[in-house]
Every structure is written in C-alpha cells, then in structure tokens.
C-alpha cells in the first residue's frame, strides 16, 4: 500500500466490511420465510433480497441474496447477523439507531450497534449512504407489510 494513506477511505473500507463482502454471512434463502422483501438501487444496480423467519415475536432465521458493491452486500450480511434472535420491536429500534448513525444523528450510541458501527465511515461518502441502507430499507418494507397483514 502507498505511504500516503487516505484515512477516510480506510474508514469506508474497514477490514470488517471487506470481510463481510468476501465472506458473506447467512447468504441464501429460506424455504418458508415469514416475510421476504427485495429492493434495488436502480442507479447503481445494487440488489438485495431478504428472507426472515419469525417465531412468536422473534427473528428465528434470516438469509439474504444479492449482488452489488461491497458496501451494500457487507451491510446486508451484517444486518442478518445483527437482527438474529431480536424481537420485532428490537429490530425496529436497531433500525432507527442504524439510520441515525448513517444520517449523522448525535444521539446514537454507535457502540451499541456492534459490528454495524463499522459502517459509520460511509457517512463521509454521501453518494454511498444509499448502498449501506438498502438492506435495511428492504427489511423495513417487509416488516411493514407483515404488520399490516396481521392487523
């Protein structure tokens, strides 16, 4: 690597992000998901498809498929790890914290986000924020549909 390191670029492509991109966790699909969703960023061609299994009120399984840039795919992979086992309300709260972090809210305790905190560096690259939030938006839309169907 060159001597003149680009700190912001290093922050964007943190090792943990590249690791999730290289070795995506929970990649695949579920046979009988409780909810699914898919979405894309038409301008960049990032695609993410999510399957979530819910037991009671908790996430019991989650898989994703997709293609796109490292940020979009790493974020999806990290999402699957982050929401596993959470209640739907906890997923909602995590989603709010994550969005708060991506859009620069000061009230978010980034450390509470665990690995997801690594995506903080994306904030310095406004055109890439939508890559990081893609999987989360897919999840939220799927959850909204799930809730509406139940009520």
């Amino acid at each position: 690597m060159p001597v003149d390191r680009d700190v912001e670029l290093d922050e964007l492509y943190r090792e943990i992000i590249l690791d999730h991109y290289r070795n995506p966790r929970n990649r695949g699909s579920l046979e009988e998901p409780s909810l699914s969703g898919e979405g894309d960023n038409p301008l960049c061609g990032d695609e993410v498809k999510l399957d979530v299994a819910i037991q009671g009120d908790h996430v019991a399984g989650v898989r994703f498929l997709g293609r796109g840039c490292s940020i979009s795919q790493a974020s999806a992979s990290m999402l699957t790890q982050a929401i596993m086992g959470l209640s739907l309300d906890e997923v909602e709260a995590l989603f709010e914290s994550f969005k708060g972090m991506m859009y620069g809210s000061d009230q978010v305790d980034a450390e509470s986000l665990g690995d997801l905190e690594a995506l903080q560096g994306v904030r310095k690259f406004p055109v890439r924020v939508k890559c990081a939030t893609l999987a989360w938006n897919v999840l939220q839309e799927a959850l909204d549909r799930h809730r509406k169907a139940k009520t």
């Binding site: 964007l12 492509y13 990032d46």
Partner: protein, 419 residues
C-alpha cells in the same frame, strides 16, 4: 513505459489553458476528468459568451421591435446556421433546438411517431441503445400497437448486422440506432443501417449524442432522416439539444409542444402553425445557452473535428493497451480503437464499479461507474454496470496513466476480496 506524444498540430497543453475547471483539485489531487461522455467541461470562450449575452444583449427573441431583441434574435438564428454547417445540414431550417438529445428523440416519437406508426407496424432498435433512444419508442409502440424488434449485440460489443436486410422487413416503419455506444464506445456503421431502412421505406433516426461531439458528422452523407445530439457533451452549456430533421419530414409533422412562438395565427376556434423549425420551438427557448453554444462550435471547428477524432483515437488506443496489460480486467467493446469512440469500459471480475469509482475519485480521477443508462446492454453482458472512462480534447496520456495508477490502487485496497 514512455508515454505517447500527441501529434503537434493538436496542442493539448494550450487547449487545457482554455478550461478554467482543469486547474482545480479534488481531494487534494489534480482533477483528472474522464467522464466526458456524461458531460464535457467548458472553455472560457463559452463561459464568457454566456456572460456577454446577459450583460449586453439579453432580450426575448422573435418578437421584440427593440434593438436588444433584434440582436438576440440574430445571434440565436446565427447559432442555428452554425449548427447546420457543423453537421452539413442542407439548410438551417432543418435544425430544431430542444433541451437535450432525449427531448429531441421524444419530439420525433411524438410528432412523427404518433402520426405515422400504427398497429402491427415494427420499430427496429438495437440492444445497445441508451434509455433515451429506447423508452420513447417502447411507449410509442405500446400506445399505437406497434412492435419493437432489437438488433442484437455480439460478444465483442458490435451490432449483429449479418442478416440486416431480412431483419428490417416490410412492416418496419422506423429504425433508431445510436451512432456511437455511450457504454461501449462502439462506432456503428450508420450509413449501412440507414440504407437498409430506406430500402424498406422506413425512417432512420440516429442518436448522435456520442457522435457529433467526437468526429466529423455529415448528415447528408449519412443520409439519416433525424439526427439528435446535445450541446453540453461538446463544450456547450447544459439545456440545449439539437434535432436535425429532413425538411420535408419536419414540414409534414404536427407540432410537439404548443403555445407561443410555434403559431402563425390563433383564433378562438383554433390556430395554425409557424414554419419549420419554429413550429417545434414553443415558448421562450433557451436563448442564452443556445447563443453560447455557438462559441463551442467555433472552438471545435477551429480545432478541426478530424483532429478531435484523431486525438481521442490515440488516447483510446493507449488506454486499451494499458488496460489489457492488467490481464484480470474485463474490457467491453471492440479492442481496436479505430472502431470505437473515446470510451473505454471495463470491470474487475470481483469488484463492483462503484467501489472502483469511489477509490478513483479519492485520487482525483472522475469516471462513470454504473449502467450508463443502458440496462438492456448491461444485461446482455450479465453485469450490473461497468467502469467507464471517456476522453475529450483536453485529456492527456498522463491522465490515462493516472487512471491506471488508480486502478492498481483499487486492487491493492481490495486485495483478493470477493474472489
């Protein structure tokens, strides 16, 4: 490697001095602007022409009795004549000003298409069209009951033309093709396609957005019926497009937009239309930008479009050679620079174009990463997008070297990620 020297008749160093923006830095690095297929930078002469108009001649055109109005009208119409000379149109009235290439093509789709296309008719396009030469025709087909057929693209990124005569059959009413692919750089044999269309009595539309800015264009030699391009891709301001149309066709067409300027007389029970081309220029046009476009045409004419083409071909050949030395890169489009415009399109097998784009941007290198508004073509090659570098008159071999250095940095950054 010793960089190629660009031929001396084309003094890139002095050209660069005419472009103020080329002095700026991006992320602390000198700007290397290689996104010219999206839009080009503007020489001082164009920027000054715009300011000069507003400071000295600003008025509405075609209606004022006063001096400013006369001056503005004369300058506007002189630009029309300049455009006609630039593409060797037989007369200035064949030139219609629009907002951009997209609007020019839409004008044909609405004003010619809705009058001449009916159920069962066929429209022939190619798989490599920009969305702006694709979606208007798909909509026209949907509304009229016509069908759209596509000329395929080979693995090399050229049009599959071996069976052109039978592909353009008796029901074909319109053939629309890009002069130069914005995504691959492929230069299409437009004369051959136009001739095949005309043998069936079909009308031929050429999307010249990547043609007219980069090479000599003679619409009479091409023999096309319509040719569309944008000022901002050839040193001019944004907001000005050009539609060249064969006079008899324009004359027989109904207006596109309606309102002021495009009428001859309006009564409470109807109106009749102004002459070509004003029939198609409803409302106050983009007077200042059209007039400043004239300075862009003068600039390119002084350089000579054959020299512009030669310079871009030389840069493209050099870029292709350097890119091919990195064997893992996948290069799209013809590998022979004489068959492509100043565009190189490529991918790392395992790194998304947007990741490449972000890292290059940090090096001051501006390229386009994505689908280039040609999604069917991207699907044809099974990719979400590509990295595209596109050249113009002010680019240098040293900038191609900067691109390559940036690309090497991308690999260093990603290591074997995703492999």
């Amino acid at each position: 490697m010793k960089p190629l020297r660009v031929r001396s008749m084309f003094d890139v160093a002095s050209i660069r001095e005419d472009f103020p923006i080329l002095q700026r830095q991006v992320h602390g690095k000198p700007l290397v602007y290689l996104d010219n297929a999206a839009t080009t930078q503007k020489p001082r002469a164009v920027i000054e022409a715009l300011v000069h108009f507003y400071e000295h001649h600003n008025a509405n055109i075609h209606r004022a009795i006063h001096a400013l109005g006369e001056e503005a009208t004369a300058a506007y119409e002189e630009t029309r004549a300049s455009v006609a000379r630039f593409i060797n149109a037989p007369r200035p009235e064949c030139i219609v000003f629009t907002r951009n290439t997209t609007e020019a093509i839409n004008l044909v789709a609405y004003a010619w298409g809705r009058q001449n296309i009916g159920p069962g008719d066929e429209i022939v396009l190619t798989e490599m069209e920009h969305h702006s030469n694709l979606v208007p025709w798909q909509r026209l087909a949907q509304e009229t009951g016509a069908t759209v057929k596509y000329i395929g693209v080979s693995d090399e990124g050229t049009l599959a033309l071996n069976d052109l005569g039978s592909f353009i059959g008796e029901r074909v009413k319109l053939v629309a093709v890009t002069h130069v692919s914005n995504a691959l750089g492929t230069i299409n044999p437009v004369e051959e396609i136009v001739a095949a269309a005309h043998r069936r009595g079909a009308v031929a539309v050429v999307d010249g957005a990547q043609g007219a800015p980069h090479m000599p264009v003679d619409v009479q030699a091409l023999d096309c019926d319509f040719y569309a391009f944008s000022a901002h891709k050839m040193l001019g301001p944004t907001g000005v497009g050009v539609l060249y149309g064969r006079y008899e066709l324009l004359d027989a067409m109904q207006p596109f937009l309606s309102g002021g300027e495009m009428i001859r007389r309006v009564r409470l029970d109807g109106a009749n239309w102004n002459d070509v081309p004003w029939k198609f220029e409803a409302g106050t046009p983009n007077v200042a930008d059209v007039i400043a476009f004239s300075a862009a045409l003068d600039y390119l004419t002084a350089l000579g479009m054959a020299n512009v083409r030669a310079h871009e071909e030389e840069l493209t050949a050099y870029a292709l050679r350097r890119l091919r030395q990195r064997e893992e890169l996948i290069i799209y489009g013809p590998l022979d620079a004489s068959r492509r415009g100043g565009v190189v399109s490529f991918n790392y097998p395992d790194i998304h174009p947007h990741d490449v784009g972000t890292i290059l941007d940090r090096e001051g290198v501006a390229i386009r990463a994505g689908h280039h508004c040609a999604q069917p073509l991207m699907n044809r090659f099974g990719v979400a997008g590509t990295v595209r570098a596109s050249f113009y008159i002010y680019n240098t071999v040293e900038e191609v070297d900067a691109l390559l250095q940036g690309i090497e940095k991308v690999r260093a950054f990603f290591g074997d990620a995703g492999r």
